[in-house]
């Protein structure tokens, strides 16, 4: 049994997005002894070519990682009805028989992150920036923004968010998922404007922001990670991450492999939510003692509220 993966342009070693998905394959490799192959996309034009070079019957399932591979995956799936695909961050409507989409209600976790950030900021200003203005990115920023609003509404505070406005859908974007240096410069920009907590939603670009926080010290600047628990994937600078909004692609990828092996693969979509553990807020790690107990309690309640639907993740 061979599982193959095609990464997006950030590369397999991006410490976040692609790497998390690949970990799912690797875990399956350890657990079930399957073969694993990957192919990195260097550019957006590589998607189709990469899929093509994995066709030919060697791969039992092909994972395509990322929203931007949506079109290429769809075409390949249509041309090769016998080949199974699974794509992260994309759901087809109507669903395709041989493609299983994996999407995540990241806004649920981001909502909690926003609430947390609003509760933790000392300057009353938090910031965010994204890679590209695409739904899998902005859904983080939306949830984050609504979480802050929710906190403001609950506590009568006036915490502001720089870098994203859910209404105009305009904000700060690096326009790439690669430049760490941009990550640092964008964080510096937000810091200069008073932000002391920043949520970079741009894959490895956020590592650049972490470098800045590391230099300034966490009293000045904290970072909220995305995709993976960056405290663990970026251990050298783990202490700057207040928390991470995790998107358990490893778990869903693993699940998909299990389904294929069990013969229960069906086209459609898997949605990761707070409820099923597909998305979550990571532990505070080094900040465990720093986050006030009240706030921790509120977050626990908030989490329950989101899961049971009493708190709506959206504009209030």
């Amino acid at each position: 049994f061979t599982a193959c993966q095609i990464t997006d342009t950030g590369g397999i070693d991006d410490n976040s997005f692609n790497q998390t998905a690949w970990r799912g394959v690797l875990e399956a490799q350890t657990a079930m002894g399957i073969d694993a192959r990957f192919l990195e996309s260097q550019a957006e034009t590589d998607y189709e070519a990469n899929i093509t070079s994995l066709l030919g019957g060697e791969c039992d399932i092909i994972f395509t990682i990322g929203f931007l591979l949506g079109d290429a995956t769809q075409e390949a799936a249509a041309a090769n009805p016998d080949q199974l695909f699974s794509i992260v961050d994309f759901a087809y409507d109507p669903p395709l028989d041989n493609v299983l989409g994996q999407v995540y209600a990241t806004d649920e976790a981001a909502f909690m992150a926003g609430y947390l950030a609003a509760g933790m900021t000392e300057t009353g200003i938090v910031g965010t920036f994204g890679g590209i203005n695409i739904p899998p990115v902005t859904i983080f920023m939306d949830g984050f923004a609504y979480g802050i609003d929710y906190y403001n509404a609950q506590h009568g505070t006036d915490v502001t968010l720089l870098g994203w406005s859910p209404d105009t859908r305009e904000g700060l974007f690096t326009n790439n998922f690669e430049s760490l240096d941009d990550g640092r410069a964008f964080a510096q920009n937000l810091y200069d404007e008073g932000a002391d907590i920043i949520l970079p939603v741009a894959g490895p670009v956020g590592l650049g922001s972490a470098a800045l926080a590391n230099e300034l010290g966490v009293e000045e600047l904290m970072i909220i990670g995305v995709d993976a628990d960056l405290y663990e994937t970026d251990p050298e600078r783990g202490h700057v991450y207040l928390t991470s909004i995790v998107k358990r692609m490893d778990a869903t990828v693993f699940q998909v492999i299990e389904r294929v092996m069990a013969g229960s693969f069906e086209g459609g979509v898997i949605v990761g939510t707070l409820a099923n553990g597909g998305v979550d807020l990571a532990s505070f790690h080094d900040f465990e003692g720093t986050v006030p107990e009240d706030l921790v309690a509120e977050l626990t309640a908030l989490r329950a509220g989101i899961i049971d639907g009493t708190v709506a993740v959206g504009p209030n």
Partner: protein, 379 residues
């Protein structure tokens, strides 16, 4: 013997061409072959140095060959990769021969490709026989215009084309982002920068789809061959080509000969841009069916290497482009089969060019064999 007869014999003697000798053969066949082999050997050393074991190295080179020429699918992928490289490199070669160092193919590809897409979906009702050629034309014209800006700046103000084309590349990325976010360009229902798709009638038809739907090779191959022939004709058979080459070889002599240097600069840049624009249109109409950010994928830069390696000669460019295309397609297979990063291909490409462009270096490394008095440098 009369004076006239003497003149005639002298004349006939002058008309004799030297037969291609050992030197030319070495130059055109042995040296490139040698360069490829030497580059692959050094590539193997790099792999060794990074802890790749010998068996894997062997496997990766087998994969490289299989992935580039080992099957119909591989050949198809090689061609798909080669077509835009050759088209863009032909344009650059014209520039080099005209003394213009145009780094702007990347931007011209983007603008040309985008224009082709916009034309394609805007006039979606036209029949194939009109829509496809006209979309290509739109790409070529836009590329020509975009390159023409740099040409005009050079001709009118003396602004160096290296700088202006680098800047135009950077501008084109942003311009593309902007255009892709416009309502009438952006695909319905999408927030990310992706254009509407072109109708089938605008696409370059796939040539081998009947054999296997995954064979992506498309009619751009004919476009490429046509362009090679056309550029050859243009450069070496026409007045315009003579003007290009004269301006490039000696701007002062060209001026003396009554060639209007400014005009030639603009025309040469525009021609180069048209070819790059075609390369872009070829990517959007033949491969992607739409425009996304960065669909140029560095082809414009790789094309510089292809043009240099092909010594700015259309036929040389064709072979260099096929070689680079093959390396790219094979490189993918290499990563899949042997787990060796495709980035190795970049190293190999660079080394090939070094060995071709610096014969003195080859002589220094391998003092036996090769001609003793190479004239240094390509072009």
């Amino acid at each position: 013997m009369s004076v006239n007869e003497a003149l005639d014999t002298a004349r006939d003697k002058l008309l004799e061409r030297a037969a291609p000798g050992r030197v030319q053969f070495e130059d055109l066949v042995i040296v490139p072959l040698f360069a490829v082999v030497a580059a692959l050997m050094i590539g193997a050393l790099v792999m060794l140095a990074t802890g790749v074991d010998l068996a894997t190295i062997g496997r990766s080179y087998v994969a490289l060959v299989v992935g580039s020429v080992g099957s119909v699918a591989a050949l198809s992928e090689t061609l798909v990769a080669a077509v835009p490289l050759v088209l863009a490199a032909l344009g650059l070669a014209i520039g080099f021969r005209t003394g213009l160092f145009n780094i702007g193919a990347e931007g011209q590809i983007l603008m040309g490709g985008l224009a082709a897409v916009i034309f394609g979906f805007t006039f979606a009702n036209l029949p194939f026989v009109l829509l496809m050629p006209l979309s290509l034309l739109a790409g070529a014209v836009t590329g020509a215009f975009y390159a023409g800006i740099a040409g005009w700046l050079r001709a009118a103000t003396g602004a160096h084309e290296v700088i202006s084309t680098i800047m135009l590349n950077l501008i084109s990325y942003r311009l593309l982002d902007y255009m892709l976010s416009l309502d009438w360009v952006q695909r319905e229902g999408r927030a990310d920068p992706v254009s509407r798709s072109v109708p089938d009638a605008a696409e370059l038809p796939k040539l081998l789809e009947w054999l296997d739907p995954n064979l992506r090779v498309h009619a751009g191959v004919f476009l490429m061959l046509l362009a090679v022939a056309l550029v050859y004709w243009l450069m070496f058979r026409t007045k315009l080509g003579f003007e290009f080459r004269a301006s490039g070889a000696s701007p002062d002599a060209a001026r003396y000969a009554g060639i209007r240097a400014s005009l030639i600069i603009v025309v040469a840049m525009a021609t180069a841009g048209a070819l790059a624009g075609l390369a872009g249109a070829n990517q959007t109409l033949g491969v992607l069916g739409r425009a996304t950010p960065g669909f140029s994928a560095g082809i414009g830069f790789d094309a510089i290497a292809v043009a240099l390696m092909g010594r700015s000669h259309p036929v040389g460019v064709l072979f260099a482009g096929l070689l680079f295309g093959g390396l790219e397609a094979g490189g993918r297979q290499m990563q899949v089969d042997a787990g060796v990063s495709i980035d190795l291909i970049g190293i190999i490409q660079a080394l090939i060019i070094v060995f071709i462009a610096a014969p003195l270096l080859v002589c220094a490394i391998f003092p036996w064999g090769f001609r003793s008095d190479p004239k240094g440098g390509a072009q």
